[in-house]
Symmetry: C2
Amino acid sequence: MVTIKDIAKALNLSPSTVSRALRGSYEINPQTKQLVLDYAAKMHYYPNPIALSLKGSKSKAIGVIVPEIAHSYFSQVINGIEEVAYKRGYHVVIFQSLESYEREVISIENMMARRVDGVLISISSYTIDFAHLQKLRDNQFPVVLFDRITDEIDTFKVVADNFAGAFAATEHLISTGRRRIAHITSLPWLSITQERLEGYKSALAKYDIAFDESLVKYCSFDAGEITMAIKSLLALTDSPDAFLSMADRLTLSCLTNLKEMGINIPTDISLVGFSNLTVAHLLDPPFSTVVQPAFETGQTAAQLLLDWIEKKDKNVDFNTKKLPMKLLIRKSSQL
Amino acid sequence: MVTIKDIAKALNLSPSTVSRALRGSYEINPQTKQLVLDYAAKMHYYPNPIALSLKGSKSKAIGVIVPEIAHSYFSQVINGIEEVAYKRGYHVVIFQSLESYEREVISIENMMARRVDGVLISISSYTIDFAHLQKLRDNQFPVVLFDRITDEIDTFKVVADNFAGAFAATEHLISTGRRRIAHITSLPWLSITQERLEGYKSALAKYDIAFDESLVKYCSFDAGEITMAIKSLLALTDSPDAFLSMADRLTLSCLTNLKEMGINIPTDISLVGFSNLTVAHLLDPPFSTVVQPAFETGQTAAQLLLDWIEKKDKNVDFNTKKLPMKLLIRKSSQL
DNA sequence: TATGCAAACGCAATCGGTATCGATGCCAAG
DNA sequence: CTTGGCATCGATACCGATTGCGTTTGCATA
């Protein structure tokens, strides 16, 4: 690896002159400058980013924490983050929390130890204490939340319009004649869970359908739990005629379970689910989905973070970007 | 951020003593050592990895190049890589080639500029010149290939047993009475394409079925091409009774196209495809798949690379690890 | 001729941590 | 009393690039 000193030695110049020539400083003789530039190009000189980082205390790296990489939604988000970061000369270091609070805290520490310039995070399902994030913010450290956010941290946030997505899905089910719409959702304390529930309730209200608490089921990541939830829903005296599921894993579980039980979709029960699977149209039956703007979420969050990092003055005006959802109606929810 | 010098000043010691105390050097008074350790813990001291990197010319980072992150197979591979890398204190920097040779070359340069300690790469489909990789190897730089490999580079490689996978799938189709088995595959110059074709041929030979070149279709990433291929196969006078597709995107395209054409699966045409989709069982019909050991591939490749990086002597004995495939038989290929 | 003043470039400190080489103090052996 | 050896710790160069400041030119002006 060729360094500035190598170039300096070869051209009988001082390292400082070479450095300035490479950076195009005005106080270098154009001829000298050209000489250095040519030689550097010939020798394939690249500035050592590690030395730069040490000097400037900027690593040109951002950290990303997601619950799981191998999950269609998050891998699409990462795709969007990559695209933006790559174009702006940053690299992306990825961590998985695996929905564990402890791993999330460790990942944050790890990132700080590695001196990333900023963090993008979608909070783990089991994180209810946000001290690890608040500490970063207290130190003026740039953190952008996406998808799973929280009110307790004041910063930039990027989310899908969960309310509108749930509202549209519910309204669609109502418009196809359904009245007893079960709401299968994730953990109750998550922001996305709450927003989606509100969208659902709001749509019911619009059509004067009473909200029935017994139709709402909160499910953890235990696979058996969703099966239990479905069975208890079907056991109701006034059992549901539609399922609205609010997460990928829940959507797929619903489908698997209902099929196993021999329930006809959509004749017996109509089905709409939040999902970013690219093969929803190939499922049996082709599945109506609310699709999250995953790629755009990644892009937007990365933009915000990098703008923030590169901003001179530290007076930033935080806001929350809300990206539109898309409802794709397929056979699972048609008459 | 607290540094060694801060600690030194606070405890009236020299930076070198603090450094040695933190590293547990034997030549430090146990009491002094404890003092330093306690103070460092209290102040949340983390060694600056950037300074370490500059000194030791090791970045403790590895680069990964995949065609696309948001692809079930590759995201599972990355998952495996991550797991191993973090346990061993490395971080993972991910690049996408998007199946472009140019982007692959740029990514390599980018990684070198960033001084990663090693590279894991699954070669882009349109890479037929390997000079960029050979240059790395010429400089004794650790590179491990996975999935898409090449004979032109002598190094560690990790692949799935493509031959066995294709053989098993073909044999299964034959055992269900199929004799005209179409082979829909990827670009002809890829290692995986060739190995899978060999497996297919070998299974045909075993059962004395003549190999018919007209049943083999090579498809690029153009979506229309697969449709054309399928139509031309169905137009044959002796048209196929089974489709064997050799990549995720092809498998899904086959399914989409055949369904659109109103062809009954598996009655009219039996279907088996290579795929790492986790929802194959929910497709219509439930889809027989050859599943690649994605996670294990990532783990193995990362292991090999890190062992190599950390090895003292540079005499490494290259080999190619072959991981078993799994054939999951579902309705799409049953009688 | 002396002085001023740019233009062009070199010196050396710096970032944080490590490693080499001393330096010091103390105790025991000669 | 001197010398050697050990235990313990400090000063400093170094990794690669940047940067404030100083220095050397050449040239024009008083």
